[in-house]
């Protein structure tokens, strides 16, 4: 407890006074006693008569008084010296204390029980912006922010009532015409001097506005960092960060202006303002603005990258904001740049309706905020870009219309997208465990065929392979698989991406197209062949006709010119007739063949006894030929189904050929038997035979065997072609066996009548 300085200065040397006061009565009484003793002795002496005894006693009394007086004076002198020394020391101490107290950075003062200032030091008067005199004329409560007055009065009352001896707290004081400022306040009940009824209170005040501002700056910084740390994007963090700055630093509105790259201007992107309609209006006005580079404090800060503060928003400082700022009564702006990636991407503006001390620490703090926000924006942008990219790739993977599989370097399916699962009609597990290994094998198989590297060779990039694969539902698809290996940092394939496309439709269309093209090509070939055949046919036919006509025209010319013998005439007539007949047959055969080949010839199916047809043919041939006929007919041969006239044509043709190509005395054998539901008929001769190279062509038109002795044998060259057509129209077959010099055997089959196939009927027929 420190006693009041004034009290000290007024202290008296009270110890000297006290000593005199205490010694004086003793000396008095001692003097009175001695004087009484002397008088008693004098009286006795008169009676006894001893004047000398009274004088001695008186002398003793005087001596005693002298000793006492001397002692008192000596004592008083020494006490005064001590008191003076003490007083001097005290004064020195008080002076030192006064110097200390007067020069203390802490405001100190004494108030009485009503709170009236009794004493104040210079620091306090400076702090409160008043002279000592002014201060002593007022009270502690009067210099306190009215909002805090009641709290203070309450505390003072407690102290006054001795409910407490000390109060320590925070309050706000006001300077005349100034803003309230925070103080740390301690009030202590001072020791009361004896006899002084009025208690005094020692008031100790410290201006904590700097500390508070530092705290506010720190709190604002912490809040901004918190906002940033708990957000993903600046857009998310900005409202929290701006409001934190605004409230902690006690601004009316805090704004973030971002550079609009398109217009190369600053635009208000985020803002916070105190709840006040005129600030809302200001905010709306700001949102309409585009601040070009270099214009006003915003533009300048953006251009320079250095924080700036202005007081009084004039048209020079921020022309576009003059009117709205005036309406909102904003007079101060502190603007700091937000720097991302080395460029100013925006500014943060702190706007205020009252001028504040914009100290370096505020600017430093704001610059730090700007830089941290800038870094965050950059980081967030990068993150966002990464996330977007990642999300994009995810989306591509997941929503791609083609199947995508990610497989390990050992071929295990790691991932398959929905399209793949849907395409293959499998769930992921089945696909991974069953279908995928199959698919890999198919890939490698197909790759081998088209000289593409196996899937896991690591160099299969760009390898496109089409494989046939069954889906889970058993549908068969054509899949086009494209493999791309994704290398790890060392360049080894880490995993492989396989795109799987369902190209079934395309492939089938291609196949159909290829088929159609093939068909077209072969049709073209057929057509060309047909064309060639036709030309050839025409050439052969015209040759045949002209050959026949040579005789007809020549001999008829001879006859016409006359002068012929009758036997000559007859012979020439015969030649003409034969050639004419040949031409006729040629025409008939050609027409038959054309009708058969174009499918316009109808055959009238009926039950035919093939043995009867054979017998008739033999009978006709025997009459006009020089060969032996050897029929070998199976009497049990069932009836066949066929067109009798056409079958007669077949048999006659074969028999005539056999006869034609047989030498005189040769044998023509005609046999029939049933074999496997068919009647098998053979006409063999012992004739010239067919050379091996011609056997394959005997049934082609105009392919007459004309070598050697066969050359003179006439024919249209269409007979066997027609025979073959007729046999095939009946559902049978015809073929030939032959050896040159040994003869030929022509075989043909005709289906047995359906009911004839049953054994019972065969029996009946027999």
């Amino acid at each position: 407890m420190t006693p009041g300085p004034k009290q000290r200065f007024d202290a008296k040397p009270i110890r000297t006074e006290g000593l005199v006061r205490r010694v004086t009565p003793i000396a008095g009484w001692l003097f009175v006693g001695l004087f009484a003793l002397a008088a008693l002795v004098v009286g006795f002496a008169r009676s006894e008569g001893a004047v000398e005894v009274a004088a001695i006693v008186l002398l003793a009394a005087i001596g005693l008084v002298a000793v006492v007086v001397f002692e008192v004076v000596r004592h008083a002198t020494s006490a005064a010296a001590v008191a003076k020394g003490e007083a001097d020391a005290l004064r020195q101490r008080d002076e030192r204390l006064a110097l200390t107290v007067g020069g203390a950075s802490v405001g100190l003062g004494l108030v009485d029980r009503d709170g009236r200032w009794v004493q104040v030091n210079d620091t306090l008067s400076a702090m409160l912006g008043r002279t000592t005199t002014e201060l002593l004329a007022t009270t502690l409560v009067a210099v306190t922010d009215p909002a805090q007055a009641s709290q203070l009065e309450e505390q003072l009352a407690k102290l006054r009532d001795r409910g407490a001896s000390r109060w320590e707290g925070e309050s706000r004081q006001v300077r005349p015409g100034g803003e309230p400022f925070p103080v740390a306040l301690t009030i202590t009940a001072a020791a009361t001097a004896p006899g002084v009824a009025e208690p005094l209170f020692l008031v100790q005040e410290t201006d904590v506005s700097a500390a508070r501002r530092a705290d506010a700056l720190r709190d604002a910084m912490v809040a901004v960092r918190h906002a940033i740390a708990t957000s993903i994007t600046w857009d998310q963090a900005a409202p929290h960060a701006l409001s934190a700055i605004g409230t902690k630093l006690e601004r009316d509105t805090v704004q973030f202006w971002a550079v609009d790259a398109e217009r190369d201007a600053l635009r208000l992107r985020h803002s916070w303002h105190r709840d006040d309609p005129s600030l809302g209006d200001f905010d709306r006005a700001c949102r309409e603005l585009f601040v070009p580079p270099g214009q006003g404090v915003f533009g300048r800060v953006r251009q320079s990258g250095v924080a700036a503060a202005i007081k009084g928003i004039s048209s020079v400082a921020e022309p576009a904001l003059t009117v709205p700022a005036r309406k909102a009564a904003i007079i101060e702006a502190v603007v700091c740049p937000v720097v991302s990636g080395g460029a100013v991407t925006g500014v943060i503006a702190l706007l205020s309706r009252r001028a504040s001390d914009v100290e370096d620490d505020v600017m430093t703090m704001l610059t730090t905020v700007g830089s941290e926000v800038g870094q965050f924006i950059q980081r967030a942008d990068t993150n966002q870009a990464l996330q977007r990219s990642e999300a994009d790739h995810r989306a591509i993977f997941e929503r791609a219309p083609i199947g995508i599989a990610r497989i390990s370097a050992t071929g295990d399916l790691l991932e398959g997208n929905d399209a793949l699962l849907k395409m293959l009609e499998h769930d992921l597990a089945t696909l991974r465990d069953q279908a995928w290994p199959d698919l890999l094998r198919s890939y490698d198989l197909a790759a081998g065929k088209s000289r593409v590297a196996p899937l896991l060779a690591g160099f299969s990039d760009g390898g496109i392979v089409q494989v046939r694969a069954a889906t889970g539902d058993g549908r068969w698809l054509w899949l086009q698989m494209t493999a791309t290996s994704i290398p790890d940092a060392s360049g080894r394939p880490e995993h492989v991406l396989v795109m799987v496309e369902d190209v079934t439709t395309v492939r089938e269309a291609q196949d159909k197209l290829a088929e159609a093209l093939d068909a077209q090509r072969s049709a073209n070939i057929d057509l060309e062949k047909l064309d060639r055949t036709k030309t050839e046919f025409l050439s052969i036919v015209s040759h045949e006709f002209r050959t026949a006509l040579t005789g007809i025209q020549g001999f008829s010319e001879l006859i016409r010119d006359g002068g012929l013998e009758s036997d000559e005439l007859r012979a020439y007539g015969g030649y003409i007739f034969n050639d004419a007949d040949r031409v006729n047959r040629l025409i008939g055969d050609m027409l038959d063949l054309d009708r058969m080949e174009s499918g316009r010839m109808s055959i009238r199916m009926a039950d035919v006894d093939i043995n009867e047809v054979l017998s008739d043919s033999i009978a006709r041939a025997v009459s006009s030929n020089t060969v032996d006929f050897k029929p070998d007919l199976d009497p049990r041969l069932p009836i066949v189904t066929g067109d009798r006239d056409r079958l007669v044509q077949v048999v006659s043709n074969l028999v005539n050929n056999a006869v034609k190509y047989s030498p005189e005395g040769g044998t023509v054998t005609i046999s029939s038997r049933a074999e496997g539901g068919y009647a098998l008929i053979t006409v063999s001769d012992t004739g010239l035979g067919i050379p091996p190279d011609e056997i394959a062509h005997v049934f082609e038109r105009f392919r007459r065997v004309r070598s050697g002795a066969a050359q003179s044998i006439a024919g249209t060259g269409l007979g066997l072609t027609i025979v073959k057509q007729i046999v095939e129209m009946h559902g049978g077959k015809i073929w030939v066996e032959s050896a040159v010099g040994h003869g030929s055997a022509f075989h043909f089959t005709i289906p047995l009548a359906v009911e004839a196939v049953t054994p019972a009927l065969q029996l009946h027929h027999a």
Binding site: H543, R546, T547, T550, L558, N578, Q711, S712
Partner: protein, 124 residues
């Protein structure tokens, strides 16, 4: 003027017709029924002209003509063929024929070609 003509034709009727017409005109006629026979006769006999069919069994007329022309380049050979399209005529001339007679022919055409090709020639 009587000349000797070889008629090579596999068609008997054509052979007879040619023989009848040429003999009537006073020429001497030899006949062959295929190319091989024609070559043999042509090389064995002095001839003034050959009337050669093309489509004959075995060796055809063109091959026979080539062989004969190798030995007797001066011997006139007339191709008488029922292959009588325009392209055929070109083909025969290109193969070395002295003339081409298309079948069927007018009898006077036959005698005329013989007369024309045998005039001022010696038998070969």
């Amino acid at each position: 003027m009587s000349v000797t003509v070889l008629v090579a034709d596999d068609n008997e009727v054509a052979q007879r017709l040619c023989r009848r017409v040429l003999e009537k005109a006073g020429h001497k006629v030899l006949t062959a029924s295929d190319g091989l026979e024609a070559v043999a006769l042509a090389l064995a006999n002095p001839l003034d002209m050959i009337l050669m069919d093309v489509a004959m069994p075995g060796m055809d007329g063109l091959e026979a003509m080539r062989l004969i022309k190798e030995k007797k380049p001066g011997l006139a050979i007339v191709i008488a063929s029922a292959h009588s399209m325009a392209s055929d005529k070109e083909r025969f001339l290109a193969a070395g024929a002295d003339d081409v007679l298309s079948k069927p022919f007018r009898l006077t055409d036959l005698t005329a070609v013989v007369d024309r090709l045998t005039a001022n020639r010696t038998p070969q």
